[in-house]
């Protein structure tokens, strides 16, 4: 896997924040999150400092319960931090109110969910364009066509989710996440509900979105094979950053996980070695 240097695509709207390889799109500073109180208190995130570069595909990797999802929720402004800060570009998302967060989610962030979460009563096309419509904007047709072509959805636009395979549904979800040209797309276990063939398909599309369309993607996964599609893997254990791997291969990721395991107390059993 080679790390191609990011070449900004010609996109006027994004010039203002024109990310380069070295400007982090997302940053966490001493980010901490605790759930519950007293005896039952869980420190899901414990003073996390991490940067995510723009125009890159980064995987957050770690055993189940290590805090991957929590980190992502805080970075995306979906949940409030107990202490510390999370920045999207120069915006401190931990300081925003609900209205500002809604606007942030509309314009600057996209999501891909494990369960696809498409609206069953809308067609693929309606699902894809929904975020733009909610924001009261007009769909950029050229961008829409680019997305649909890249994701191989041209033939499926009039289908409803129930008429699509899992992989196709997740590709629609990726298109939906990208339609508003957000600064960053967060994906939480996007292949968790897919068979391995569809999973590979989706991961390839995610990587193409970064390489060919110049997007920034942060993906949470516990699957080393999936993580290997990323440009960089951030390892997390027990709510702390435990290391990172550039230009990962499945073997490198597995090795990294093993290293974690030997450092840490027994990790939960569902860190499954990749089968593919």
């Amino acid at each position: 896997m080679d790390t191609t240097v990011y070449v900004p695509i010609d996109d006027g709207a994004r010039d203002a924040v024109a990310p380069t390889d070295h400007v982090p799109a997302v940053r966490a500073r001493a980010l901490t999150k605790t759930y519950g109180t007293g005896q039952a208190q869980v420190r899901a995130l414990d003073g996390v400092d991490v940067d995510f570069a723009a125009g890159r595909f980064t995987a957050i990797m770690g055993p189940s319960g290590s805090g991957k999802s929590t980190l992502m929720h805080l970075l995306a402004g979906l949940d409030s931090a107990t202490s510390g800060q999370a920045f999207l570009g120069t915006t401190d998302v931990t300081a925003l109110g609900d209205k500002a967060l809604t606007r942030l989610r509309r314009d600057r962030v996209g999501f891909v969910f494990q369960q696809f979460n498409l609206l069953p009563m809308f067609t693929a096309e309606q699902n894809i364009t929904l975020p733009v419509e909610l924001a009261g904007g007009t769909v950029d047709r050229a961008w829409f066509d680019t997305l649909v072509t890249t994701l191989g959805l041209s033939e499926r636009l009039t289908h409803r989710p129930s008429e699509l395979s899992g992989g196709q549904q997740q590709r629609v979800a990726i298109a939906r996440a990208l339609i508003a040209q957000p600064e960053v797309v967060f994906a939480d276990e996007p292949t968790g509900n897919l068979d391995s063939r569809s999973g590979v398909e989706v991961l390839s599309f995610l990587r193409r979105s970064v390489r060919e369309l110049g997007r920034t993607i942060i993906m949470v996964t516990h699957d080393p094979t999936a993580a290997a599609y990323a440009d960089r893997v951030v390892l997390i254990a027990d709510g702390r950053i435990a290391g990172e791997i550039s230009d990962p291969t499945p073997e490198a990721v597995l090795a990294g996980l093993d290293a974690l395991r030997s450092l840490e107390t027994p990790v939960s059993d569902d860190v499954t070695p990749a089968g593919a």
Binding site: L78, T102, R105, D107, F111, F113, L119, P120, L134
Partner: protein
């Protein structure tokens, strides 16, 4: 299994509670109705029983073998006896008079009236009056009052004799013994007997007497003794009889109400039934959603060995428990409402003697609980069947928001279409029978049968057509933006659920709209009929006649005063004369009553100005009856003769009802000294007719002239009032069904919201704002409620018009009115309620943080 059922109920407690409210309201309605019916029966009984004072026994006999009061009094153990009797007399003081029932004095224990001031009369020339009657007459203690009573002479002739007894006592009727006859005045027993005898022309037999038993005497013993005295039995099966006061009162009360309370019960319970049907729909919907949401759990149960019957029974058990709990709560609520109503009535001092507490009979408890439980279980039958169809395999499928887009059966479609077609056919036939064939009874029967049948068809078929209407409405609103488009799409994803919810509302709204439309049409038709029959608002007619028997004139002064009364818009003078009409040479002259009027002035005041369109000098406008009597038709000529001459005029037979008109110009030729004997008045629009007529009556009374004031205006106001009261009661009763349906809308929305938790979270994650989420649910509420309400109004209009056609066709042209105000009100209430119904679900939906969209399970 019961344990699992209970556990599931606990998990769904909130959702079940919301649906249970529908049953609570329905059963509270039934319980309150039964209680009210009980109160009415009690009131009648109490008032009847009160007539007997503190009597222990009542003795009865027939006219042929009457009672001997002295013999009764002499019987062992009898302390006092009083005949049960009353006569009527006219009490007058000055200008005011009251027709009043009069009873004789009796032993204190047998006298239900209480003296509030003064004393009971003890001698001739004294009278005690009910306090309110004394007030009305304007007399107090010590004053005299004129009592006009009938006396039958030896030759059988009647005359009225006036007595002037002094008022010695004022009375209160605390138990309402004479409430039904407007109270009773009391004179001493001897005077009473004289009056009663003279009024009949012979002594009046005593057929019923109340008896007080002496202290220390056993009532049963006294009863036997009295039975011995009169030679009768101790039951009323054959006269003479001696029974306890309670027995007698119960019997008279039953005779008095004779089925009326049953009619009341059936009438109100019809509305309770409608409310319960609507509640049933709400329950069906709730269970259908619950079963859909529990599909995985049910499948798991099937996987671990539960059979179909167990799953189905579990749902029904749940319904039975819900129904039972809700019904018991309903009975409690109904009882509390009934008791509160009594307290309020007592606090407001309503002038009828009400019992202090509602009577909780076993029927009041058992009937609503049984009905409520049966309705709930019945409503859960279909969802229970759906539950049995959940395959064990469903447990293995990925959890997805359940959707019940199962197609409804063809059989149902055909059945509902057939029923609706036959129903609407019958309805049309009913309207035609009423209007074309003038058969209101047959028309109404066909109309009611057709209406009920077609409505069943419409409601059963709702699942097919209602979602389409909702879709059309949805397309309309969807154009307004993504929020509305989401809402519209949501409304359609469970067509069955939307259909059931809207149908529940449709039922109530249809009935309300039907009633208001029917009432409005009845009002317009009645008004039109009245206008035709009584062409003017108010008539003032002289009633005095001079020595020759000619009607005396109304003075110019009085006419000016009347015209000046507030609310009188215009007046015109009329002269009523009797002329001789000869319709051709050689034919005999006939007396013809004519009203002479100035056509222009008449047009001003007549409600139907067209009536006088053909009246001009040289014509006589004949009423249809007179035209028939005289065998005259339009265009014929007739010679009219009176004191000063004769004129020959052309006949016009018009729509003037039974009045014939002549112009004042022609009158002058007939009789130079004809005087103004009456005036026609038109009232201002919107003026309170009753008070205007009252004011005119006052002016006439003050003038000292003898004139009669007749006002179709006040009659019309009376009609309006009757219609309004009936409508108010019916709509009030129907409102319960509408309220339940609106609870159903809120329930459906919140169930949908629970089901769509993940979806709401996703939408929030991809940029739906809180306001947009609220808006989306508000539009969903509006769509569901709006579709039901609009369709209900349309159906109601059709039914209302058909009903009016069937029932009122006989009165002439039926005016089909649209009660815009009421319909707007119904729509606004439904829409606002739809909006309000979305508030709580929106709050639940907003609680779902966007994080939930990412959560795995």
């Amino acid at each position: 299994m019961l344990r699992i059922t209970l556990a599931q109920m606990r998990r769904s407690a909130g959702r079940l509670a919301a649906a249970g409210v529908a049953i609570v309201i329905g059963t509270a309605f039934v319980a309150a109705t039964l209680l009210a019916s009980g109160v009415i029966t009690r009131m009648t009984y109490d008032s009847v029983a009160a007539q007997y004072g503190d009597a222990d026994l009542v003795v009865g006999a027939t006219q042929d073998a009457p009672l001997d009061v002295d013999a009764l009094a002499a019987t062992d153990g009898v302390a006092a006896v009083a005949p049960v009797t009353a006569i009527y007399a006219e009490l007058t003081d000055g200008a005011r008079s009251v027709y009043q029932s009069v009873v004789p004095t009796a032993d204190d224990r047998l006298m239900p009236l209480e003296v509030t001031a003064g004393a009971m009369p003890s001698a001739a020339g004294e009278i005690a009056l009910p306090a309110d009657v004394a007030d009305r007459l304007g007399v107090t203690l010590g004053d005299t009052v004129d009592v006009g009573r009938d006396v039958v002479g030896d030759d059988g002739s009647w005359r009225q004799v006036t007595e002037t007894p002094a008022v010695v006592g004022l009375l209160d009727d605390p138990f309402g013994a004479y409430a039904r006859t407007g109270g009773a005045a009391v004179v001493d027993a001897a005077t009473y007997t004289t009056w009663q005898t003279e009024a009949r022309g012979e002594p009046v037999a005593v057929t019923e007497a109340a008896v007080v038993v002496a202290d220390g005497t056993d009532v049963t013993a006294a009863q036997s003794a009295l039975a011995g005295t009169v030679g009768g039995a101790t039951s009323t099966d054959s006269a003479p009889w001696v029974v306890t006061t309670d027995e007698r009162a119960a019997e008279s009360a039953a005779e008095l109400t004779g089925g009326q309370d049953l009619m009341f019960l059936v009438f109100v319970l019809t509305f309770a039934a409608v409310a319960l049907v609507v509640a049933g729909l709400v329950i069906t919907n709730t269970f259908q959603v619950l079963v859909a949401q529990r599909a995985r759990t049910l499948a798991l149960l099937r996987c671990v060995g539960a059979d179909k019957a167990q799953v189905g029974r579990s749902v029904l058990t749940e319904a039975a428990i819900l129904g039972l709990v809700a019904s018991v709560a309903g009975v409690l609520l109904g009882t509390a409402l009934g008791q509160t109503a009594l307290w309020v009535a007592h606090a407001l001092d309503v002038p009828v003697p009400l019992p202090g507490a509602v009577a909780l009979t076993w029927q009041v408890v058992v009937v609503p609980v049984l009905v409520g439980t049966v309705v709930t279980v019945g409503a859960a039958l279909v969802p229970a069947r759906v539950a049995t169809r959940v395959a064990p395999l469903a447990a293995l499928r990925p959890a997805d928001s359940p959707s019940t887009s199962r197609r409804a059966g063809k059989v149902r479609l055909v059945l509902s279409l057939l029923t609706a077609a036959v129903g609407f056919g019958l309805l049309a036939a009913g309207a035609a029978l009423g209007t074309v064939w003038q058969e209101p009874t047959l028309g109404l029967l066909a109309g009611i049968a057709g209406g009920a049948l077609s409505f069943v068809g419409v409601a059963v078929g709702a699942v097919f057509w209602l979602p389409r209407v909702a879709a059309a409405a949805g397309r309309l609103v969807a154009a307004s933006g993504p929020t509305a488009r989401l809402a519209a799409a949501n409304t359609l994803r469970n067509p069955r659920r939307t259909a059931t919810t809207s149908t529940a509302l449709l039922i109530g709204v249809t009935l309300v709209a039907m009633m208001t439309t029917g009432a409005a049409s009845a009002r317009t038709s009645l008004t039109a009929a009245l206008d035709e029959q009584f062409p003017v608002d108010v008539m003032v007619t002289s009633t005095a006649s001079d020595a020759d028997g000619e009607q005396e004139a109304l003075s110019g002064e009085l006419r000016a005063d009347v015209a000046a009364v507030d609310g009188v818009r215009a007046t015109t003078d009329v002269s009523e004369i009797l002329v001789r009409a000869t319709s051709g040479a050689g034919s005999a002259a006939t007396w013809l009553p004519l009203t002479a009027i100035d056509p222009a002035g008449g047009a001003e005041v007549l409600n139907a100005p067209d009536v006088l369109a053909d009246l001009e000098p040289g014509t006589v406008l004949l009423g249809e009856v007179q035209a028939q009597d005289l065998a005259l038709g339009t265009g014929d000529s007739v010679e009219l003769t009176d004191t000063d001459g004769a004129v020959t005029v052309t006949v016009a037979v018009g729509a003037s009802g039974d009045t014939s008109y002549l112009t004042t110009d022609d009158l002058a030729a007939l009789s130079s000294d004809a005087s103004v004997t009456g005036m026609y008045l038109a009232l201002d629009d919107g003026v309170d007719a009753a008070s205007a007529v009252g004011a005119i009556q006052d002016v006439v009374a003050d003038s000292g002239e003898s004139a009669q004031v007749t006002g179709v205006a006040s009659q019309r106001a009376l009609f309006d009032q009757v219609i309004d009261t009936m409508l108010g009661i019916v709509v009030g009763l129907l409102a319960v069904a509408v309220v339940i349906a609106l609870i159903g809308v809120a329930n459906t929305l919140s169930l949908s919201v629970i089901e769509r938790r993940r979806e709401s979270a996703t939408l929030r994650a991809i940029g739906l704002s809180k306001a947009q989420l609220r808006g989306m649910l508000a539009i969903e509420g509006l769509l569901i409620a709006g579709v039901g309400a609009v369709l209900g109004v349309v159906l109601g209009l059709v039914y209302g018009w058909a009903g009016a056609g069937a029932a009122l066709g006989i009165m002439g042209d039926v005016s089909l009115s649209v009660p815009w105000l009421e319909i707007t009100l119904v729509l606004v209430v439904a829409l606002v309620a739809g909006l309000v119904a979305s508030v709580a679900p929106a709050r639940t939906a907003l609680k779902a943080s966007p994080v939930e969209a990412l959560a795995t399970e």
